[in-house]
């Protein structure tokens, strides 16, 4: 029983990342009709926002400590971060400690800008082009983005820890009188994802802006005829989608050390998630994200693995095939979307 609950928690956690990426992907597809293969790269850029902020906070000046030697036998240069000398060692150290949560603030304007520039500079010219062309150009962009990151940060994963206060584990089972410990940061990640998802949905549901966008998603031409500048709103939606993926990336960094190709790792999975959810359906994307996350976790349980060897390698794809064959347009897809 405990094991099952743990795996559900793991699934929700994996699902959070899938759902957040798929949500952005679906937003872009639903509003702009663009198949964006660079969305994984946006997630990766978000993660590297956190890395960058932590590097900025760690910018140091060097003092020479004659008592210690470095690897060449020269006197060791001891590095002290500037923030520690400006704000005192305690505040400075806690600033560095809290780099990842701070990066949320830092990353939002950056991600919005990245989204805006991408849409205005490139994607805009591809609305009327075939999906194949969109795939090629966004795939090219994804490669370029990740190679740029690799050029500056290298290929090795870069550790970006969570704040000490949020590291460690918590007993989540205490409420039910059970003993289930789970990493604090993973709980934070899931809650964060839930908040973001709720925010996006309420934005679309309850604001005029959101209503226009939803109307535009349903029938772009008619909304355009009403004299509403739908393109501008869609551009903003692209920025929001980028911000959602970026934030997912920022918060993901303590879970797994980010590297330059993490975007590609998530790209294929998030496409599967979007399609299983149904092209163009936001609730579908979220539902499919969590569902696949949980099923993936279950499949990696020893009992199930010993029953069907290798099931954890293919579970996502098996589920995708079964769902697409039983529900032609995924879980919640609309008819006629991306069926040509």
């Amino acid at each position: 029983m405990d094991a099952l609950i743990l795996q559900i928690l793991n699934g929700l956690d994996k699902g959070s990342a899938y759902a957040l990426i798929a949500l952005g992907l679906t937003l872009i597809f639903g509003t702009l009709g663009v198949v964006n293969f660079a969305h994984g790269a946006i997630f990766m850029i978000g993660a590297f926002c956190a890395v960058t902020l932590s590097k900025i906070l760690n910018l140091s000046y060097e003092t020479i400590d004659p008592n210690q030697t470095d690897f060449l036998g020269n006197p060791l240069k001891v590095k002290t971060p500037y923030v520690e000398s400006w704000f005192g060692p305690e505040i400075g150290a806690s600033l560095i400690d809290w780099a990842v949560p701070l990066a949320i603030i830092f990353s939002i304007p950056i991600m919005l800008a990245v989204g805006y520039i991408m849409e205005r500079g490139l994607i805009k010219h591809f609305y009327k082009r075939e999906h194949a062309d969109q795939i090629l150009v966004t795939f090219g962009l994804a490669i370029v983005l990740q190679e740029i990151i690799k050029y500056f940060y290298g290929a090795n994963p870069i550790q970006t820890p969570s704040p000490d206060a949020l590291s460690g584990v918590a007993n989540v089972g205490a409420v039910f009188g059970m003993d289930i410990v789970y990493p604090v940061w993973r709980i934070v990640y899931f809650c964060f994802a839930a908040v973001i998802i709720a925010a996006v949905f309420s934005f679309l549901q309850f604001t005029t802006f959101g209503m226009v966008v939803r109307a535009g998603m349903a029938d772009r031409e008619t909304v355009g005829l009403l004299g509403i500048d739908i393109d501008r709103r869609f551009t903003i939606m692209f920025g929001i989608a980028a911000a959602v993926a970026g934030l997912a990336g920022v918060m993901y960094t303590p879970i797994n050390s980010p590297n330059y190709h993490m975007g590609m790792d998530f790209l294929v999975l998030s496409f599967v998630v979007v399609v299983v959810g149904g092209m163009g359906s936001l609730p579908g994307a979220v539902l499919a994200g969590f569902m696949l996350g949980i099923l993936e976790s279950f499949a990696s349980m020893n009992a199930i693995k010993s029953l069907i060897p290798g099931i954890d390698q293919i579970i996502i794809y098996v589920v995708a095939i079964i769902i697409l064959l039983t529900r032609p347009r995924g879980l919640m897809g609309r008819k006629g979307v991306m069926e040509e």
């Binding site: 956690d13 060449l72 994963p157 550790q159 993973r186 879970i255 590297n259 349980m301």
Partner: protein
């Protein structure tokens, strides 16, 4: 089966028939002009450095490439000479190899067997490389080793840790300086016994491909010999990034040691996840829970950051070693690039020197001559103490380091500390050891 002896004759025959029609041909595989593949005829000799330049091991590949460039510089008489000064053999003069200037070509393995073979082939076919070296994973090493055997050039393996490279898949033209899974187990076992006792329950998480399996087999055998009990061996997909669903079952499994048979990104993530789940603080069966990472590298330790502190593993070499050879190498590498070399850089540097020295001693670049010079060769002064290139399987036998993640690193490179240097005798095994059985070295192939 006696087909290997027939090979060359068949090739010769068809080659000659095919060649007869064209005027002035020099035939690649069967020429009377060249005694072996890519015999250097001018004033220079070309070596092929085939390392991962893209993909997850790109940084390791870049470090290997730095070491290769350094080795070439030293061979050609540039720089401070590095380990050429400490190497027990004094054949190398700093005037290239056999008086020929050393040149090199580079390629990208992409950590894929196909791409690695394509890259190696282009070095052999286009650039006339007489030796191929490099790589950062066992799949690639075995694939390229097979290719070099067919093409008739020497392969000096880079970082490859699978038992198969010099076991089931060993080849007469291939040589490995790096240690392997069995040696990791043999080196770690006594240290683990001292630290954690003989009554332990180990849980293995293993990358689900051949390298992972051979390491799992080796470590499990070595620890079981101590009296440890293996609770479970769980295979994890290569593509996995989040290991939480594999770590969670460890919590209630009754295990008190977790062995992570992972490398690269897999290892960084699985270790990070294991620490996240509080395994380090856990007390099981009244004992402190421990994590072991049998194959360590500094670059991986860097990726995992804080999480490696106090975690034991084994490594081929580490820059903090204080023997003359290691110091000379660190100095010459560090002066040129500004940071200490990784174990991958060390092994490929050694491989290059060993190859050059073997050519020099054999007086030829002919793969058969070089192989003969390397087989059973004993040397010292390359940072691992006294070392033997065993003739039976072309594996180097040398001391293995047991290391631990350092608690208080003084710099970003100072992540591991050497706990013990396990002497070579303790990690030596018989050539027909069951974990290495099934393969055949064959006979050396000079190509032509």
């Amino acid at each position: 089966m006696s087909k290997s002896t027939m090979t060359r004759r068949g090739v010769l025959k068809t080659g000659a028939v095919a060649g007869a029609g064209v005027a002035l041909p020099t035939i690649f595989t069967a020429s009377s002009a060249a005694a072996y593949t890519n015999e250097p005829t001018g004033g220079s000799v070309t070596l092929g450095f085939n390392v991962p330049q893209t993909g997850p091991y790109a940084d390791e590949g870049a470090d290997e490439l730095r070491a290769y460039e350094l080795a070439v510089e030293h061979l050609n008489g540039g720089g401070d000479g590095g380990m050429m000064n400490t190497f027990s053999s004094k054949e190398l003069q700093g005037n290239g190899i056999l008086g020929k200037k050393v040149e090199f070509v580079t390629g990208d393995t992409q950590t894929k067997s196909d791409a690695a073979r394509a890259s190696a082939k282009s070095m052999i076919e286009k650039d006339g490389a007489v030796m191929i070296t490099g790589g950062s994973s066992s799949g690639v090493a075995i694939a390229v080793q097979g290719l070099c055997q067919e093409a008739g050039v020497i392969f000096m393996a880079g970082l490859t840790h699978s038992n198969d490279t010099t076991g089931k898949d060993k080849k007469a033209n291939g040589f490995r300086h790096f240690f392997n899974g069995y040696m990791s187990g043999a080196a770690l076992a006594p240290v683990l016994k001292n630290l954690y006792g003989t009554d332990r329950n180990a849980y293995h998480l293993t990358a689900d491909y051949t390298w992972g399996w051979t390491q799992e087999e080796s470590i499990a055998a070595a620890t079981e010999a101590l009296g440890w009990n293996t609770v479970n061996k769980v295979r994890t997909p290569l593509a996995a990034t989040d290991f939480s669903s594999y770590i969670a079952p460890v919590l209630n499994s009754g295990a008190d040691v977790l062995v992570l048979n992972h490398y690269g990104g897999n290892m960084v993530n699985s270790l990070t996840n294991a620490v996240q789940f509080g395994l380090r603080e856990k007390i099981v069966n009244g004992k402190q829970f421990e994590i072991v990472v049998p194959l360590y590298s500094r670059l991986m330790a860097k990726g995992a950051g804080e999480n490696v502190k106090g975690i034991h593993g084994s490594t081929n070499w580490h820059w903090s070693l204080q023997d003359d050879a290691s110091k000379a190498f660190v100095k010459s590498f560090g002066t040129k690039y500004g940071f200490p070399p990784s174990q991958a850089a060390h092994t490929v540097y050694c491989q290059t020197l060993l190859y050059a020295d073997a050519c020099q001693r054999a007086g030829t670049f002919n793969p058969c001559g070089v192989a003969e010079a390397l087989e059973g060769y004993e040397f010292d002064g390359l940072g691992n103490g006294k070392t033997l290139y065993r003739a039976e399987d072309h594996q180097c036998f040398k001391d293995v380091l047991v290391v631990r993640g350092k608690e208080n690193p003084t710099s970003e490179f100072d992540l591991l500390e050497v706990v013990e240097v396990t002497p070579a005798a303790q990690v030596t095994y018989a050539p027909d050891h069951p974990m290495f059985a099934g393969g055949e070295l064959g006979s050396c192939n000079p190509g032509a």
